[in-house]
Subunit: 441 residues, 2 copies
Amino acid sequence: MSLLDATHDPALRSWVTSANTPDTDFPVQNLPFGRFRRKGEGQQDTLRVGVAIGDQVLDLRLAAELCPWSNEVAPLLDPLAAGDLAAFMRLGRPAWRAVRAALSAALTADSEQGPFLESCLVPQADVQMAMPCEIGDYTDFYTSIHHATTVGKMFRPDNPLLPNYTWVPIGYHGRSSSIGVSGQLLRRPMGQVKLIDAAEPVLRASSRLDYELELGALMAHGNELGSRIGMDKAEDHIFGLVLFNDWSARDIQPWEYQPLGPFLSKNFGSTVSPWVVTLDALAPFRQPFVRAEGQPQPLPYLDSAHNREAGAISIELEVWLQTQKMQKAQHPGDRLAGSNYASAAYWTLAQLVAHHTVNGCNLRTGDLLGTGTLSGPEPGQGGSMLELGHGGRQALTLSSGELRSFIEDGDTVILRGHCMAEGARRIGFGECRGTVLPALT
Amino acid sequence: MSLLDATHDPALRSWVTSANTPDTDFPVQNLPFGRFRRKGEGQQDTLRVGVAIGDQVLDLRLAAELCPWSNEVAPLLDPLAAGDLAAFMRLGRPAWRAVRAALSAALTADSEQGPFLESCLVPQADVQMAMPCEIGDYTDFYTSIHHATTVGKMFRPDNPLLPNYTWVPIGYHGRSSSIGVSGQLLRRPMGQVKLIDAAEPVLRASSRLDYELELGALMAHGNELGSRIGMDKAEDHIFGLVLFNDWSARDIQPWEYQPLGPFLSKNFGSTVSPWVVTLDALAPFRQPFVRAEGQPQPLPYLDSAHNREAGAISIELEVWLQTQKMQKAQHPGDRLAGSNYASAAYWTLAQLVAHHTVNGCNLRTGDLLGTGTLSGPEPGQGGSMLELGHGGRQALTLSSGELRSFIEDGDTVILRGHCMAEGARRIGFGECRGTVLPALT
C-alpha cells in the first residue's frame, strides 16, 4: 500500500472554515485524535474521543450517533464513540485508514455529511484535553547524536560519544505514572544534590530544572512476550506521534545516575501534547534515512529497504518559554530553539521498535516511546537549557530582559511542531505546555 | 497500634490440618493473598482471590458467599469476592487487619465458621496462580551493599562502590509488561553483544543468562503527583512482599548500559511469586536497622525512630537450580545460595518509598518496588550466578555432575523465602519458579 492516499490532496478544503487558514495546525489533511471533556463534565464522566479540525474538535461520540456512515466505517467508530481511543488503536492500520478517509470526506467542503456534523463540533477553547490513553510502559531513547555529543562533552571532554552509541539505540525505562497532558502544573522537585566542593549531599529543591524537547510515539498494538517485531512490521505498531517534554533536574541527575541511570531527576513529571498525529498524516513528510560518512551501517535487525528510503520524518520542532512577567504582559513568550526531527535523530521510529523487541520484550497498546532530546547539529538547535546555556555557564537574555540559565518557578515551557513539504498542506501538533510551581519544602 | 496482634499467637492451630505441619509456608499465622483460577476456568473467567492455608487455597469468592461474617468485615470482603485484590489493597491497613483477624479466627481450630468454609477450600495443586494485581510502574532498587560491591569490583577493581551508594537508595525504572508469575517460561533473549576483542558488536543469543534473587514490595496506595510520602507513613503504603527474580543477560548489559542504565539486558522478563505476604504477617520478624561503623547516617528524610528500631525484616532467602537432567531424574534441584534480607539490605522498605517520592513522583496501587539482588556478606550468599561463578570464571559443579557458569536452556530457577523467630510460627513465601526456553534465532 502506498504511503499516501487521497486524504493528502493539498487542495482539499473543509467546510470548517478555520481549518483552511494557512497557519492552522489542523487542516483536513491532519485529523489527529485526542480525548477530551466538554465544559461542565467532570472526572466521573467518560472521556470523549475527538479529532481536531481548525480551531474545533469533532466530537466522535456525537458524530457516530448523528451522522450516517457506511456499513464498513460505522462499526470502526464504535470504540471512538465509547471514548476508548486505545481500543481503536488496537484495530490496526486498515481500520485507521478507513476511518481517516471517511472523516476526511465528511469534513471536506460540500460533503453531504456536513450538515449532520455541524452540531458535533465544539470549539477547542471549550474543551479540556486529557491523556490520549493510559500509558502502560514508557521508554525514553536517546536518538539525537548531537544531544548525546554535546551533553557527553560536559561530562567527558575527551570522549564525548560513548562507543556503543553508533550501534545501539540507547534507551531506558521511564516513569508512566507522572506523565501528564499539556497544561500540566509541575512542582519543582526536591532531591539529593551533592555540590562539587561539599563533603556530603543535601536534600534541597532543584536549582537546575530543565525541559527536554522530544517526540513520543504511541504504540497501537504490541507483541507477545518472547516474540519480536521486525523492521518491516515496526511502523504498523505505531499509531502516531505527540510532542513530549521530559522534564529533568540537572543537579539531581549527576549524583544519582551511576550506575543504573536517571531516576528521581526525571520521574517527577513528563508532559505530552494532547493530539496524536497519525503516521498516515505524516506520510508526505517522509525522508530517506542515511548514515553520514564514517558512521557504521545499522546491524541487519535494524535495517530495511523501506527504512533507508523513507524511515525519517521531517518535523520542525520549537521550544518557547513564557515567564510569569511575560504572561502578565500578555507576551506569548520567546522562541528559545528549534530543530528538525529528521536531522536530529540518529535512529528512526522503526529502529526503536525493532530494537526494543529484539530480546522478546513485549510492547503493549498505549506504550510510549520517547525519542530523547531532539537537538540539531547547529548552535541554537539544542533541545534543552543545559545545551543552550552551556551547562549553566551562559545565561540566556530573554526579550523581557530576564535572564535564564534554567527554568524558574512560574515559567511555562511550550513545545510546538509542524511539518511542511512541497506539494503538501502544512500540518501541526498543537502545543505541549507545562508550568513550574515552587517546590514544597 | 502495636506491630503484633492476636493473629501472631504461635500456639494457634488451624482446622486445615496441612497448615499445622512445622515446615509449611502457610500456617494460619501467614494468610498471604493471591489471585488464581480453578481447574477448568479459562482466560475469559474473572480471576478469584484466595488466601493460602497449608496446602489449600481458601477461595474468597465462595467464602464471602457461603460463610457468615460480622457486619464490620462483610463489606471489606466485597472486593476480594469480586477478584479485585488491588481494590482491597486500596482500603488500607485497618481494613487489612480486620480481614486478617477475621480469616485467622475462622480458620483456627474449633472455629464455628469452619464447617461453612470447608467447601471453600481448593487444593493448591488444583489451581493456576496469576499475577496478584496489574503492575503499574515497576522500580528496581540496588539495596544490597554486598552485591553492589562484588559486582562493582568486576567492573572497577580500584573503586568498587561508587561514592553515592551510601547516601542514595539507588534505583531505576524497569519493565512492567514482562513481569510474570511463578511458572513463567522465558525465552533466552537475543541482543547486541560486543566481545572484548571484536571490532564490532553482533546480534546473538545471550550466553550469560542469569537470575537475581530479590524481594518485591507491592504498593497498596500511592500519593498525588507533587506530594511525598514521609518515613512515618511509608510502610502504610505497602501491602506486602513477594519473591522476585530479575532475570539478567550479563553479556548484553555491559555493552548497552552506558550512560542510561540497563535496558534489554533486563526487560525480557521478571518473575514474582504468587502469594503476597503482608507486612502484618511479617511483624514478628522485624529487626533494628543499624548502620555499620564508618557508614554515614541516613539524611533526615530517610530516617525515623521506627525505622531505626524495627525497619529491617529477617527473611531467609534461597536460590535453587533444577536442570532438565535433574527434572527427568525427579531430583528437586540444588540449593545454590542463601542470604538474609536483614543483613543483605543497606536500605529499608520505608526508605525506598520515602526516597522514591521525595521529588513528588507519584506511586500508584500495584506498583512494584524491587529490592535489588539480595546478596549477603559471606561467600555462598551471592544472589546471582555472576557472583557465585565469579563472572563466569569459576563454574559451579552441580550434584548431577553438570557444570554451570550461567543458566542453560531448560534450567528452572526456584527462589524460596521463609521467616523464623523465637516465639513465632515459621512462615514462608512459597516459590518463585522460572524456566528458560531456547532463544528464537
